[in-house]
């Protein structure tokens, strides 16, 4: 057993560092360091910079244009990615529908969709949840009825992240209601967002952000060849997607970076004589999170190591989702606590690109409450943490 990097891995680490220090668009990183909010354009340019370097398909096999990286290489990459303050990689194309297409899609589908996903020239969004089907996803009601060589889609998807930017959406829809288990009649379909009959309406989250949407389908017609795999097997593909995208799901690298920033902020507050009255108690809370994160990092590495030896990521990886989001939220909370009254002004506008009014808050404190509010979603989405516990109870503990 060892955790040292090999000489080759150290060379790789240098290459990744150099890439973010030199080749990656520096204006994006500078903007992020000022806590600016990311725009559609910023996300796309960031991902395209990765693509230019050949690093867009981080988890993809080489044959489809992926990196083919080892567990350690991915670990190194994500740590540097977070340390450089890169904007997150939007997961719907590169992390979700891409792997589904190269695993279950036809050759035509692979040719048609994969290059655009890798180059981030097409923005994807995910149509899973419905107003009446959140944690109980299999009870979804959106229908896709075959009519000649077209599917006719009717229904409503909700909680659709960044649908307002999307060119395509992948959905789970019911193609057969006459089945024993409700999971069985579900299919996995790809839909172009400009298809007639699609309406997107915003849902504002509690922090005031427009990040999620409802997407209405009113007799939307799509060619039947936009079905992935077999009709009625959508549940399988959907589950594959949910359990496949485990790399970085715990967000450890990002949480480590945020904890570093939190420590810096505390140090600067201490210098200015505005540390919390009981600063040791604050330090203990930080240390507790840091230790949990160290544990989680190794839990993730253990999982990935076992995956790299050919095992599928098991249901025990639900731990990564639960603990990962708990840590994200704990750090949000510490930022909020440290900011004291500075967290109260709602100054989202002044962090947006192009803002040129007065700056009320100059240390990012005013974003801490908003981020804390926004990230309460983390324990709800992607299968709520309660659902994850049910999964562990059933599939791991067998109770």
């Amino acid at each position: 057993m060892n955790v040292n990097f090999s000489p080759e891995e150290l060379v790789f680490q240098d290459e990744v560092r150099a890439f973010f220090a030199e080749e990656y668009p520096q204006d994006i990183l500078e903007g992020r360091r000022k806590s600016m909010l990311a725009s559609r354009d910023i996300y796309i340019r960031g991902q395209q910079a990765l693509h230019t370097k050949g690093w867009a398909g981080i988890n993809w096999p080489v044959e489809y244009g992926g990196t083919g990286w080892s567990v350690t290489q991915k670990y190194i990459f994500f740590n540097e990615f977070a340390a450089a303050d890169c904007p997150t990689i939007i997961p719907f194309g590169l992390g979700m529908v891409g792997p589904v297409i190269y695993t279950y899609g036809t050759e035509e589908q692979k040719e048609k969709f994969l290059p655009d996903i890798l180059s981030s020239s097409v923005w994807w969004c995910q149509g899973y949840s419905e107003p009446g089907a959140g944690s109980d996803l299999a009870s979804l009601k959106t229908r896709a009825d075959l009519d000649g060589d077209e599917y006719v889609i009717n229904g409503t998807k909700t909680w659709t992240t960044l649908a307002q930017h999307a060119d395509w959406i992948f959905i789970l829809a019911r193609t057969n209601s006459d089945v024993a288990r409700k999971q069985e009649g579900i299919s996995f379909l790809l839909v172009k967002m400009d298809a007639p009959g699609i309406t997107v309406t915003p849902i504002y989250t509690l922090d005031g952000d427009h990040e999620i949407n409802q997407v209405f389908f009113d007799n939307v017609r799509i060619p039947a060849d936009q079905l992935i795999g077999e009709e009625g097997k959508g549940w399988t593909y959907g589950k594959f997607l949910l359990t496949h995208e485990r790399a970085n799901i715990a967000g450890v690298a990002l949480s480590k970076q945020r904890l570093r920033k939190l420590k810096k902020k505390l140090a600067s507050y201490e210098q200015q004589g505005q540390a919390p009255a009981d600063v040791e108690s604050f330090r203990r809370k930080m240390a507790e999170v840091e230790i949990q994160l160290s544990a989680l990092e190794y839990t993730e590495l253990r999982t990935l190591a076992s995956v790299s030896t050919g095992k599928a990521p098991g249901p025990e990886s639900s731990i990564l989702k639960i603990k990962g989001t708990e840590m994200q939220q704990a750090i949000d909370n510490l930022f909020f606590e440290l900011s004291a009254y500075g967290a109260l002004p709602n100054l989202r506008a002044q962090y947006e690109a192009g803002y040129d009014g007065d700056i009320v808050d100059d240390d990012g404190s005013s974003l801490t409450a908003l981020r804390y509010f926004n990230f309460r979603k983390a324990s709800i989405y992607g299968g709520s943490n309660e659902i994850q516990k049910n999964i562990i109870a059933k599939a791991v503990l067998r109770i």
């Binding site: 909680w159 509690l206 919390p276 604050f282 606590e337 500075g342 709800i380």
Partner: protein, 376 residues
């Protein structure tokens, strides 16, 4: 020992409960929040008519002489109804300083206007870098003949953007964190040299950072004796800490009730969410924390009214508790609402935001626990 309300208290409670239930709907509230106005002037006038704005002032000043128990009763309901109007800022904070002033002329001038709803003042005490300590006063007031000249900045002044009068703490002598040398003044918000940078706070209320640039003010505007303002400020903040704790308890009640109701109605896997035992036990935890918070609230209110030497510790322990338990309860309510809980359309999200902000006001739970240990 007697935990029963007097007839007057019971009537007060009943009237606030009824008003909130019948006249203060969530949608109306959200219309005000969405508008550019910081609060509804119409509602404020109704509060004045109902006598709420006169509640904490002494009968000598033509008020209703309400104490901590009365403050508790009204604030709980304002919390439950998510009332956006600046009762805390104007009546409890600014009013709480003015009512303790030995400057009778000033009291007679300002209090009637506050009670009628005509004046809606603010209290400017926090500064960038002060965190929650009240004796951290960097704003200076330098004597110049019969006047004082004020310079410096106050930070996140609740209702500071539109207040007509601003009560502020300023340093007339000593170093930045000395207890002595702090004087409270009351200035008209439109005098020369005051600049206000208003903003919305994360819970939908309004506040401002206020800079004072050679603002000239007369000795007659001193709310406290010169250099001896800290005591009054501390007393007003103690009341306000009880007030927001009571508000938090009202919010906790609403969060608990609404979560139970939601899980009863929301179906998942073919049965109501409320039938899942893991969620039931979490809702029981919410309920228990609510009841424990109620108990500490009652205890602190009674101790304040009885002028107990332990009153400050009791308020600190209360604020600590509602800070910790209240925020946890808010997080649980959001979590149990699932996607609905993080939508800005739903009252749960706003109750959650408000209880989060309350934790920060006048010192978060960490700070209050520290104070409690020091004072006990």
């Amino acid at each position: 020992m007697d935990f029963s309300l007097s007839d007057e208290q019971a009537m007060l409670k009943e009237s606030v409960v009824q008003y909130i239930d019948k006249s203060y709907g969530f949608e109306q509230r959200m219309q005000v929040v969405a508008s550019s106005a910081p609060y509804s002037a119409e509602k404020w006038a109704e509060f004045a008519d109902l006598g709420w704005l006169s509640l904490p002032f002494s009968t000598d000043d033509d008020g209703f002489d309400g104490g901590a128990v009365e403050l508790m009763l009204i604030m709980q309901e304002l919390g439950r109804g998510l009332v956006i109007e600046p009762y805390l800022a104007a009546v409890v904070l600014a009013g709480g300083c003015i009512k303790r002033s030995g400057n009778v002329a000033l009291r007679k001038l300002l209090l009637p206007a506050i009670m009628s709803g005509e004046s809606v003042p603010a209290l400017a005490y926090a500064e960038r870098g002060s965190r929650y300590t009240l004796n951290h006063v960097g704003v200076t007031a330098v004597a110049d003949g019969e006047d004082f000249v004020i310079n410096g900045e106050k930070f996140v002044v609740l209702n500071g953007g539109t207040a007509d009068q601003i009560v502020l703490s300023a340093r007339t002598s000593g170093a930045t964190t000395d207890d002595d040398g702090i004087t409270l003044f009351c200035v008209c918000a439109d005098v020369a040299g005051i600049e206000r940078q208003g903003f919305v706070t994360v819970d939908g209320a309004h506040a401002a950072n206020i800079t004072f640039d050679n603002v000239r003010i007369g000795k007659a505007d001193a709310v406290s004796e010169i250099g001896l303002g800290l005591g009054i400020l501390e007393a007003a903040i103690l009341d306000a800490t009880l007030a927001v704790s009571a508000e938090a308890v009202g919010i906790m009640e609403a969060l608990t009730t609404k979560t139970i109701e939601y899980t009863r109605n929301r179906q998942q896997f073919g049965v109501p969410l409320s039938s899942f035992q893991a969620l039931q036990h979490r809702m029981v935890d919410m309920f228990m924390e609510l009841e424990q918070s109620r108990s500490l609230l009652l205890r602190a209110a009674i101790m304040l009214d009885e002028d107990s030497p332990d009153a400050a510790a009791a308020v600190a322990s209360l604020k600590y508790y509602v800070g910790t338990a209240g925020r946890k309860l808010g997080e649980e309510a959001v979590q149990l609402h699932g996607g609905m809980g993080v939508s800005n359309e739903v009252d749960i999200a706003h109750l959650f935001k408000r209880i989060t902000v309350i934790d920060t006001l006048f010192g978060n739970s960490d700070y209050q626990l520290h104070r409690y240990i020091q004072s006990s």
